[in-house]
Symmetry: C2
Subunit: 371 residues, 2 copies
């Protein structure tokens, strides 16, 4: 057995996540571990909560980071909000809609699928039709920023539709948070989850989430216990929210939370609106360069995520070989297509720390060499 | 809102976990983040798998680290192995037996509780009686190293009992791994989970687990889907085990895994048997000092975990006040009692990097000053 420390190669991370993690965040993760019930640590958790409220633009009390990656944030949302027999309208326009379906089924809910083509935004008319056909639906779930295609949908309009039909909304913004405008309170979103390794540029492993009071009420009034002990918000609340002392629920990922704290500080220093603007500016810069190379986008101009650029692989170019070259010769990671888009598209991330002119230049130059 | 980087105080971690994390492990976590599908990262995952097989002393193919803390390892074990209506014998001699019950119930199983007093080891006769009374039981679940009391039970004998009655065993060794003898293959354990923040002295946030072929078969032949998408081993196997390419399941906690890799390397350098011996030697040293202070142990001499020393709080000493003094004046974290033992015992950890003479001296001196 080889017995050496792992020294990772130096990569430029321009795939669908993780994004480049700054030295500040890496250094934060290397600070000495302290206890998860240490008063100093609890104070830092309170700051993370406030900083996440800032990022989500919400006053939601139930705002914190699930102690596991983004997919656990998804599971946390569905496990807590779906009860046996609940009908859930799932808008599926990419890979992650299918995962939502899996979640709903496993928790005993009934998924009602509203399908849109991969690469298109969610069609409000179809969702409204589904809501009319299923007046007993309880939840509308959808992906704000589809990581598999680079499409942005409209959480504000979709949540309004949900509310007009007495449903709660569950929003996946794993790739969206800090990259595109998102206003949880103003848009009245009920449950939303994200990841740390996209536009926040912290290391993967945590999932920021936020729940409205309406969602919180639904969780408190469940008829059955949540089908997960680890993700049961009734229990987790007592660790993240407990007044007069926190109860032990599980051991938090201490050093990962140091990193998230630092990444959120950086976001606060930049300013959330400036962060949105930065992602858009750099997207336009990359787009210009790609157009000059004769490369087309998968997604309609108006529906593109600036932080995730899905482009057609030029004719005659071998997907796997080219990405291997990019990685091995240029240390550049970009993303492959998923599902039916495998071999057809590449996904170029411009998320968080990865969203900068130097990376864009390096990316354009490297791609121009392999095509 | 305060806007400063979080600089943790310097603590000596001698509670029930987390334990002190070495500079080597902290530095590893600060190395640049790379992608979770990067071939270099996949190679490191393979090494982690081999190192965990070394730590568990097993050849089990299904050996890896769940991307969340120890409690998710517990949930992963029960979610995958328990099906609707399955009877599970749960040996409860502390806090974590109750958590097992919660897990079994939430996944639709029927818990059969075998209770022992907190602070006593699991009574084999009672377990045998329960197995005789419930010939249709499918699983025997128990805690190897009870973190709430400092008691060690006998996984070898309990697993043999389980097998004699056609049951699988699920073993909680969150606090046990690398601290006391544990031989997964030789003892024919079916499913076992641990944590990174105890005797391995990595940061919290990951849960090493290992499943026998019998357990794997049961999972593959389930009649119903696992009631968790995030923890479904049928899906996770394709990321940790996939031949000819790994499938994306979720984004692994990259930097936390760097840390675990380094912590496991340190264990391999020390040697697993030497690690057990170190924990015992330092336990005897601490015990001598505590006895000199007139302090008594909760647990019978033969059943004590060397890495977690549960001692009675001396008469007339205020629990909370004293622990506050230890933390604030001596930077020493020790653990409180849980449940009925709250206010009655302290738990002094000597786990992994925390298990050394300097810490023992500091602990004894600090305690002598506050009692």
């Amino acid at each position: 057995m080889q017995l050496e420390s792992f020294i990772p190669p130096s990569r430029v991370l321009m795939g669908p996540g993780p994004s480049d993690v700054s030295k500040r965040v890496l250094d934060a993760m290397a600070r000495p571990t302290i206890g998860h019930l240490d008063p100093e640590f609890i104070s830092m958790m309170d700051e993370i909560k406030k900083l996440l409220q800032y990022a989500f633009i919400t006053k939601n009390e139930l705002t914190f980071a699930v102690s596991a990656p983004g997919m656990a944030g998804m599971e946390c949302s569905f496990a807590n909000l779906v009860e046996e027999g609940d009908k859930v309208i799932i808008c599926k326009n990419g890979f992650f809609g299918e995962r939502m379906k899996e979640n709903v089924e496993r928790f005993g809910g009934v998924p009602i699928m509203v399908d849109d083509e991969w690469g298109k935004k969610i069609d409000l008319n179809k969702v409204e039709e589904a809501l009319k056909n299923h007046p007993d639906a309880k939840i509308v779930a959808f992906v704000h920023a589809e990581t598999s295609t680079g499409v942005m949908s409209d959480p504000k309009a979709l949540t309004k539709l949900a509310h007009d039909h007495d449903c709660l909304s569950i929003v996946d913004t794993v790739t969206g948070l800090a990259g595109v405008p998102l206003k949880v309170d103003e848009w009245e979103i009920d449950a939303i989850y994200s990841g740390t390794q996209k536009c926040l540029s912290a290391s993967p492993g945590l999932s920021p989430i936020s729940f409205s009071n309406a969602a919180k009420e639904k969780i408190k009034n469940r008829k059955t216990k949540v089908k997960s002990w680890f993700l049961d918000l009734n229990l987790i609340m007592s660790y993240w929210e407990g007044e007069g002392g926190r109860s032990y629920h599980h051991t938090a990922p201490i050093n990962a939370l140091y990193g998230l704290h630092e990444a959120l500080l950086i976001l606060k220093e930049i300013g959330i609106e400036n962060s949105w603007k930065k992602h858009m500016d750099n997207h336009l810069l990359l787009r210009k360069g790609l157009e000059d190379l004769g490369i087309d986008y998968l997604v309609n101009e108006n529906d593109r995520l600036p932080q995730l650029n899905s482009i057609y692989i030029p004719d005659g170019i071998d997907d796997l070989e080219s990405r291997k070259k990019l990685l091995n010769n240029y240390n550049l990671e970009i993303g492959a297509g998923l599902g039916a888009l495998a071999g057809k598209i590449w996904r170029i991330g411009l998320m968080g720390q990865s969203s900068n002119k130097k990376n864009i230049d390096h990316c354009l130059e490297s791609i121009s060499k392999v095509i």
